[in-house]
Subunit: 119 residues, 2 copies
């Protein structure tokens, strides 16, 4: 039973455009391997390899009936990614709130002077 897949494999899996396209397709409903391969130029073998990556990291699951393998999106497969992103924003917001609080205490007027950038 594969669960709690780490963020690393998830990011790596979704860093490849065809794999994201397959996830997008599957978010609109189950599909067979051939269905998923149809929009692509690449060989069927390559598609199968992508699907193996997606299944290994818990984004999809698949079931073979007869000759046909049908893939579906795993409902909570993307959850660790969402959690990671939310955590990053959470940290930043907590910091920002603290900063705002400190600034409000010291300078009870406007928050922020403009900054200049370089390149």
């Amino acid at each position: 039973m594969l669960q709690h897949h780490d963020v690393d494999t998830l990011f790596q899996a979704l860093a490849v455009a065809p794999r994201r396209a397959m996830v997008e397709r599957l978010s609109r409903g189950p599909a067979t391997v051939s269905d998923l391969a149809q929009p692509f130029e690449m060989s069927l073998a390559a598609v199968v390899q992508h699907l193996q990556v997606l299944e290994a990291c818990g984004v999809i699951r698949s079931e073979k009936i007869g000759r046909v393998r049908t893939c579906t999106l795993q409902p909570q497969g993307l959850a660790p990614l969402e959690a990671w992103i939310a955590e990053r924003r959470g940290e930043a917001e907590r910091r920002y709130d603290r900063l705002g609080q400190i600034l409000a205490e010291r300078f009870p007027t406007s928050p922020n002077p403009p900054s200049k950038d370089d390149q």
Copy 2:
């Protein structure tokens, strides 16, 4: 004026563990290039390259003062990723709702006005 950095470069940028670690560090507050390099074995040049990738895709920004470049997290930098994930789940949930509706129409278990349009 948020540049629409595409999901592809964002996923690719965050698919690399050291880059994610740098983002995690920056979510706890700004840091210089040397600060960010400190936890790693790799050369400073490699760290700089990672930071360039992160800045190019809008996850961080940086400002150089004197010899020192200070990096900060770009508040909305991860938003396109969140949006992509949310959209995938949104699709799946809409499908699930439609399925529930269809099942409810065909096998009414509760008081249920029949609808004319059918798909």
